[in-house]
Amino acid sequence: MDEVSNEQVVIQLVDSVMEVFGIMLGLDVQAGEAHVAGDGPHSSGVKGAIGLTGDLPGVIALNMSRSDAATAVEVLLGTPAAEVANTEIMDTVGEMTNMIAGGLKTRLSDRPGVSIEISLPTILIGESYEFDAAGTASSLVIPVLGAGDSTYVELFASADSDRAARIESGCQPAVAGKEKP
């Protein structure tokens, strides 16, 4: 297999995120500084997570506040954000996560010998929860600027892959340097 570096994964992931937010919501988002997730506070809001198998084993997650996700539903369906139900919010975040993961898969799978499969999305919503992506060792957090205060994507690397060690040993923030001039 043609080894895919962390930098390549992050660049393609950011590209996919920008495309999804741009086409679906009309937002010109940019990537913030990527960093390794610490032992911070519990998550809150809405999280869509999709499992990856094959040459990029792990999990991709999209996190948004409930209010930003409700605004996304308003843009997509025309339902006023204040009237949006949790089912629509979860469905929307799940589908956006699906598009981001699918976009990453498409971008990486066109490389010779690279094969990636993605699962159906799992969605969480709540005030305070802990997310444990079983079998993963570390995660890289990439803030999505221009889509609300707490919107970010996370890439969890499988504990069995070298990628987890490479993330923990210092995937430099510059890898997400896809900001526009």
Binding site: L77, E95, G103, I118
Partner: protein, 122 residues
């Protein structure tokens, strides 16, 4: 000319988005049928007069490829366009070989959908 359209996707929000984009693309729709997976879609094409299908690929119970194979096996002949997140060359080739006429990658615009519809003569 109006058409009966079947939209197949496990996401209710995505089914609404597809419908909305179809209208933006200028497609005159008479009746809309919805299905949440391939098995439900098979029931619809077996019972209703469907002129166009827009189907997701990754769905629980029965995925889009299996739905297409089984629908074609039942001599369902109307155009089927895949609307999916996965756009690799292999995926598109597999879809076309399974009996679909068009392929649209999510996220998509009205122009993307219009182009796929033009490809099937609509």
């Amino acid at each position: 000319m109006s058409r009966n359209v079947l939209i197949v996707d496990d996401s209710a929000v995505m089914r609404k988005i597809v419908m909305r984009t179809l209208r933006q693309a200028g497609v005159q729709v008479d009746q809309v049928f919805e299905a949440g997976d391939g098995a439900e879609a098979l029931d619809v094409v077996g019972q209703e007069d469907v002129h166009l299908v827009l189907s997701d690929v990754n769905m629980p119970n029965m995925d889009g490829f299996q739905f297409v194979r089984e629908a074609r096996g039942q001599e369902f002949a109307a155009p089927i366009i895949m609307v999916t997140t996965e756009g690799s060359e292999d995926r598109v080739r597999d879809a076309l070989e399974s009996g679909v006429q068009g392929y649209v990658v999510k996220p998509f615009t009205a122009d993307d959908l219009k182009e796929a519809l033009a490809g099937v003569g609509l």
